[in-house]
Amino acid sequence: MDPINFVILASILFAIGAAAVLLRRNAIIAFMGVELMLNAANLALVAFSRMHGEIDGQIMAFFVLTVAAAEVVVGLGIIIAVFRARQTISLDEPAELKG
């Protein structure tokens, strides 16, 4: 199969992830959207790597995996702290900051 198909798939996944971040009001779902975007980028990197016939893109994907794991730790930590404080993780609910 032509690797360009994977790039198209990656773009679609990226768009779905971006839409989830921008449209969903639940912090966890929005965060899942971010993760989907990162993984879409990984897929694109690996596909391009295959197209170029070298491994730079695959190595980059490993870095992204590691960073994404660190990001999950920090992100879930913050979301749990918010949930403990106010028993909800809706992004509409916290509205103390305005203007």
Partner: protein
């Protein structure tokens, strides 16, 4: 398949290794030193020694640099005068920020919550407070953030750009969430900062993937070569370039990628706001400069519309919305958005002079920012019973501050005048060099908008000065404000005030130093 060990030139990495090594040691201190008070002192000394030592190492390197600079790690990292200048700048902000992190009120209260995991108002929190717990993790977190920012200013590879971005962003998200008071606001600011920050770094990464796909290389030099020889991949290159630039504009805080700024600035503990406001903007500007000049220079014409639109939108929106703010930290946040616009003015047309103008602009802006937020930590509310509460950040509460504490109010006025760009302050020289760089590339309409926006912005800075000096303390409110005294925070105020004045009156030496830094080591690596 055989692997060859890469040759690594360790010496040019010394400042980075000092800071990142110290952060690793600081994490060990966190685990092995049990008494909170000893731990705090150890961490403070360790951080300051590391930051000052790294700054010294960077200065020594600057002095002994032979030729244009060195390429390290197969072109992943470039150490030239430009990157050393930014590194020193970030280390200065880091040192001042660490002093603010460690400052305490007269009653011995830090700016950070005693236990980050406890829910606000819970019995856990009360217990943690009574036991005298302290979140001394803020010091290693700040060190990691400083190390990441230093990396961010020197990287010349798209993989490393993304990694460095996350290395300095992740600790900042945590720091924003750790305020002692108004913890709901702090959590909310951190959540928004985190989601939008992660969103923007994903956009940057996807853009980097596109650039890699179109040019077959992740190094800036390879991307630049790929752009000039590209055939049939123009759309892919342009989409990738726009996404990388947008990811960086998020970190600079320019409109329409600014929506995290006011919330994160207001919610974060004020010392964190000071550090983040000064250092993040500097690091992101440095990275954007290098990306634009070393990798995407061939797309200068195609991308200039982006800088025009974003610069004008940031200047106008930042200024107009700051005019109607009644909360001080929020007002400064919108002012920082307007300043992001002023920074981007120098990017229009990519003149060579921007490489020496922007470090100066960011130095003047960052020092004034740190000073202004340090003053804010000193002005506190007092309850009817006389206990000192959190910071007084409503504008009305600052009425008559000049009579209560002339020096503090005077320093604040100096910082505000520097933001406004009044002559004899560093802000004036900064704006002058940045705008003349833009004019040299023919972007005079943009400079015209910038000058008008600066004049309008002066209104809300001067309004606060009038409030401090020409308004009386409201009737019956005489005891509502407490002027706190923390030696560390006062030191930061004094140092930044002196530097803002010095850079405004005798900018020559620093300007000529940055002129030497205005040359990038291009085309190296692979």
């Amino acid at each position: 398949m055989s692997f060859t060990t890469p040759e690594i030139a360790w010496a040019p990495l010394t400042p980075l290794l000092i800071v990142l090594g110290a952060s690793a040691v600081a994490i060990l201190v966190e685990s092995f030193v049990r008494s909170p008070e000893t731990r705090r002192r150890t961490q403070l000394v360790l951080s300051l020694v590391a930051l000052v030592g790294a700054a010294g190492a960077a200065v020594v390197q600057w002095a002994t640099l032979d030729g244009a600079g060195t390429v390290v790690l197969d072109g992943m990292l470039t150490v030239d005068r430009q990157s050393l200048a930014w590194q020193v700048l970030i280390l200065v902000f880091g040192t001042l920020g660490t002093l603010l992190f460690a400052s305490r009120t007269r009653a011995g209260e830090e700016a950070f919550t005693p236990l980050g995991a406890s829910a606000p108002g819970s019995s856990d929190e009360t217990l943690a407070r009574r036991k005298g717990l302290q979140v001394t993790e803020v010091f290693p977190l700040a060190l990691v953030a400083v190390g990441g920012m230093m990396l961010f200013t020197s990287v010349t590879d798209l993989i490393f750009l993304f990694v460095a971005l996350e290395v300095f962003s992740l600790p900042l998200y945590v720091l924003v969430a750790l305020a002692r008071r108004r913890r709901f606001l702090s959590h909310e600011g951190a959540l928004k900062y985190f989601l939008l920050g992660a969103f923007s770094s994903a956009i940057l990464l996807f853009g980097a993937a596109f650039l890699y796909g179109a040019t077959g290389s992740t190094s800036y030099a390879g991307v630049a070569a790929g752009i000039s020889s590209s055939t049939g991949t123009d759309a892919l290159i342009l989409a990738g370039a726009v996404m990388v630039v947008v990811g960086l504009l998020f970190k600079i805080g320019a409109v329409p990628f600014h929506s995290w700024t006011p919330d994160a600035y207001q919610g974060a503990p004020t010392p964190v706001t000071a550090f983040m406001g000064a250092a993040t903007k500097a690091a992101a500007t440095a990275a954007l400069l290098r990306v634009m000049y070393a990798a995407l220079y061939g797309l200068n014409w195609e991308l200039s519309w982006l800088f025009w639109v974003v610069a004008i939108a940031s200047m106008l929106l930042g200024t107009v919305v700051a005019l109607v703010q009644t909360e001080l930290k929020r007002m400064l946040a919108y002012s920082s958005i307007a300043h992001a616009g002023f920074i981007l003015v120098a990017f229009a047309g990519l003149p060579d002079t921007a490489l020496s103008a922007l470090p100066f602009y960011l130095a003047s802006y960052g020092l004034a920012t740190m000073g202004a937020f340090a003053v804010i930590t000193q002005v506190r509310e007092r309850s009817d019973e006389g206990t000192v509460l959190g910071e007084a950040t409503r504008l009305g509460q600052w009425a008559g501050l000049g009579k209560r504490s002339p020096w503090l109010a005077g320093a604040m006025a100096l910082f505000l005048l520097s933001f406004a760009g009044i002559p004899l302050t560093a802000g004036f020289v900064g704006k002058f060099v940045a705008f003349s760089a833009a004019i040299s590339s023919g972007a005079w309409p943009l400079v015209l908008v910038a000058v008008i926006a600066s004049a309008a912005a002066a209104f809300f800075y001067v309004r606060l000065i009038v409030l401090m000096f020409l308004t009386d303390v409201p009737e019956g409110q005489e005891d509502a404000i407490e002027i706190d005294y923390s030696p560390l925070a006062r030191t930061v105020v004094a140092v930044t005030a002196v530097l803002v004045l010095l850079l405004g009156i005798v900018p020559g030496p620093v300007l000529s130093a940055f002129e030497n830094a205005g040359v990038l080591l291009l085309g190296a690596g692979g």
